[in-house]
């Protein structure tokens, strides 16, 4: 608001003072990116209308770093397994199996058919959970609120385990049941939490209430069912990428593509919601609608990911917090959350495959083991950073 005002003022100012003023209104830590090659001279304020935006330097660096780390882990993921394949060969195999470039290599089967699909799914699941967690934590204004705490994952689990107990075991049907369960649980929470508006605390509390109730129902199914069902359900409930591939990755990929515009909208809308209610309302934000939009988006993302890989725990809780503490921004950065989530899931699955080989752990066991220590490290090293209170924290 004030930025544009002072920029308008600066046009009437002396040319010399203008640059100073413009530097002054730019928030700390942000760089100005100009699309129309304004360069450094900027002798006309109309340049700004040619397209420019503020870029949080630290966020950009963190995103780059996370992206590089994720790429590195992906390469490692393709190389490591029952048989080790050199990175160059792995990349060749990927190029050949996916795009028909180069010659067929003996590694095609292992890399292109076994490891690549699973890795792709892991990346997408992680990113989806990361964004979902970021959105819901922002709306709830509580770092503890994530899809696996406010009932989405529990709804998915309850429906899925219930179906397993009554003899539905085909993996062609179960994912759709989980998505339906997650969405239904979220809808219930929303209906019960709605009372002339959506108050953050009320929403979270009722969400947790439903989550615990649904988890109890799941447990009931587990104790009623026989031992084998319990074992299978337990594996599904900790989230696993084992034996998953293009069949699950395909629908999830399309869903993420369809939701991408929504996520871009959310990245902007998020900023207003993280202010306190009165301020946001005074700024003309339609809080109820924006929140509904953000939460719905988060829930759909989380449900999709749960349907594809089971409720991979803690990614949605840890990834956004790790991202936010790395970038040190006021809001939870969506891109970095997605990257952090993808990194956590792929790393965890790599460890899950290798750690106790030949026994394979479900990825959900290790996501926390990968994410939590880093979050703890960030907590230990960051200190207060002078930011108090639990708004978007």
């Amino acid at each position: 608001m004030t930025a544009t005002d002072s920029r308008a003022d600066s046009r009437t100012d002396r040319p010399g003072a203008r640059a100073e003023v413009r530097a002054a209104v730019r928030p700390a830590g942000y760089g100005l990116i100009r699309i129309k090659g304004g360069g450094r001279s900027c002798h006309d304020a109309r340049d700004l209308r040619g397209g420019s935006f503020l870029l949080h330097r630290r966020s950009a660096l963190v995103a780059l770093g996370l992206a590089l780390a994720t790429v590195a882990v992906c390469v490692a993921y393709l190389c490591v397994g029952e048989s080790f394949i050199a990175p160059a060969d792995a990349v060749k195999a990927v190029l050949h199996t996916q795009w028909g470039l180069g010659q067929a290599t003996p590694n095609d089967l292992v890399v292109g058919t076994l490891r690549l699909p699973r890795m792709t799914l892991g990346l997408m699941v992680g990113a989806a959970f990361g964004v979902a967690g970021a959105l819901i934590q922002t709306v709830a204004r509580n770092p503890l609120a994530s899809p696996d705490i406010i009932g989405v994952s529990q709804g998915a689990s309850a429906v899925t385990v219930g179906a397993m107990t009554y003899g539905v075991t085909s993996f062609a049907v179960l994912p759709y049941l989980s998505v339906a369960g997650g969405l239904a649980a979220a809808a219930l929470v929303y209906v019960f939490a709605w009372r002339g508006g959506l108050q953050a605390t009320r929403f979270v509390l009722i969400g947790i209430g439903f989550a615990v109730a649904l988890r109890s129902i799941t447990q009931l199914f587990l104790t009623k069912g026989d031992y084998l069902v319990a074992q299978q359900a337990k594996v599904w409930m900790t989230g696993s990428l084992n034996g998953r591939g293009w069949d699950e990755a395909g629908p999830l990929g399309w869903a993420l593509l369809v939701l991408l515009p929504g996520v871009l909208w959310a990245a902007r809308a998020q900023r207003t919601v993280s202010l306190d209610d009165d301020t946001a309302t005074a700024l003309g934000v339609r809080l109820g609608r924006v929140r509904l939009g953000l939460v719905s988006l988060g829930v759909v993302l989380a449900s999709m990911a749960t349907g594809a890989a089971g409720p991979v725990d803690f990614v949605a809780l840890l990834a956004p917090q790790i991202a936010r503490r790395m970038t040190r921004t006021a809001q939870i950065p969506l891109l970095c959350s997605a990257l952090a989530g993808a990194f956590i899931v792929v790393t965890a699955d790599l460890l899950a495959r290798k750690l106790f080989a030949p026994t394979e752990l479900p990825v959900g066991v290790l996501t926390a083991a990968v994410g939590a220590p880093y979050l703890i490290h960030l907590l230990l090293s960051s200190g207060g950073r002078g930011r108090k209170g639990g708004t978007a924290a």
């Binding site: 337990k234 207060g384 639990g390």
Partner: protein, 344 residues
């Protein structure tokens, strides 16, 4: 300010009267719950026969059932309900987070890890043996949570407490599931303990945990005023002459001991620690000197009633109390949370 106060808040006398009224109601509800827990089950026993068995002994079947099966179960329900409810109240007060509870902050999970390791590696298979492992686990978990939160600048702020609790909880869950997925034999035994149940606990446990319950209760009651001050924010609390660090540490210690009591005796019962504080606050306001005793009354009511309903729902098998607490507690929580704005 003053005009506002008189219009929105009842004068002091009527507030006290209302609180006393509610407390009396809660006591009556608790007595009823105890009576139900002693009289109802797969075999109904008339209340008069229950009293008779308790007061005059006797050797009839009914008296035996009451004394050897239902009495220990009821006593444990009382202790566990009160312990978890108070622990939850204190944790919500210390972290200033309305969704903090022993489960989310990792303390219950610490106890669970202790038990899992005991089953899987130490070959402990008796409840009397679990208790100490659960205690040790809960203690270690909360020390870790507090240590992480209080390091760095700014000390143990609410947000950092909540986050470090969540991180430790996540870590411990992965330890638990890791052990259970690799050791299938432990899963079967653990899955029945994990839900939380009052069935099959013997009086031995009562003897083992009551001193801890007492110590924990004394600790949390001692910092009740401090928690009230903390609710106003750290700076205000300091200004009111509270030593914030001491309040936090004592409260955390008390909450840990109480959680240890609850989890050791009945498994990680979800929800009691989360919901009861909110219900208590909705009834008597935010003063911890009232909320804590109220929670200690409501917690057992919720737990005992859940246990009784679980006994008669699908006879002859029992639904574990831990499942029923949530199913019975959720409607209450939802109603109360909807009725008024939540005091975090």
């Amino acid at each position: 300010m003053t005009a506002d106060r008189t219009s929105s808040r009842p004068p002091r006398a009527s507030l006290v009267r209302r609180r006393l009224g509610w407390t009396a109601t809660a006591v009556v509800a608790l007595l009823l719950a105890i009576l139900l827990s002693l009289a109802v089950g797969s075999r109904q026993i008339a209340p008069s026969a229950v009293l008779d068995a308790l007061l005059h002994g006797g050797s009839s079947d009914a008296a035996d059932i009451v004394r050897s099966l239902r009495l220990p179960r009821t006593v444990i329900g009382l202790m566990v309900g009160a312990a978890l409810a108070m622990a939850g109240t204190v944790m919500q007060g210390v972290t200033r987070n309305p969704i903090a509870d022993p489960g989310i902050l990792g303390v219950s999970q610490g106890a669970s890890v202790g038990v899992v390791l005991a089953i899987a590696f130490a070959g402990v298979h008796t409840l009397g043996g679990y208790v100490w492992f659960a205690f040790a686990g809960a203690g270690l978990a909360s020390v870790a949570v507090y240590a992480i939160a209080s390091s760095g600048r700014g000390g143990a702020t609410p947000v950092k407490l909540a986050l470090s609790g969540a991180a430790i909880n996540a870590l411990l869950v992965s330890v638990t599931t890791g052990v259970l997925t690799t050791k299938a034999a432990a899963l079967d035994e653990f899955r029945f303990w994990q839900i939380g149940s009052l069935a099959g606990r013997d009086t031995e446990i009562v003897g083992q945990v009551w001193p801890f319950l007492l110590v924990g209760t004394v600790l949390v009651i001692a910092v009740a005023r401090g928690l009230d001050a903390l609710a106003l924010g750290e700076d205000v609390a300091k200004g009111l002459g509270q030593n914030v660090a001491v309040v936090r540490v004592v409260a955390a210690l008390g909450a840990t001991i109480l959680t240890g009591v609850g989890v050791a005796a009945a498994g990680p019962l979800a929800f009691v620690g989360l919901a009861v504080p909110h219900i208590a606050r909705a009834i008597v306001g935010t003063d911890h000197r009232w909320v804590l005793p109220m929670a200690a009354l409501i917690g057992p009511v919720m737990l005992l009633v859940s246990d009784v309903v679980g006994r008669i729902l699908f006879p002859p098998s029992e639904v574990p109390a831990g499942v029923m607490t949530a199913l019975i507690g959720v409607p209450f929580l939802v109603t109360l949370v909807r009725r008024k704005t939540v005091a975090a």
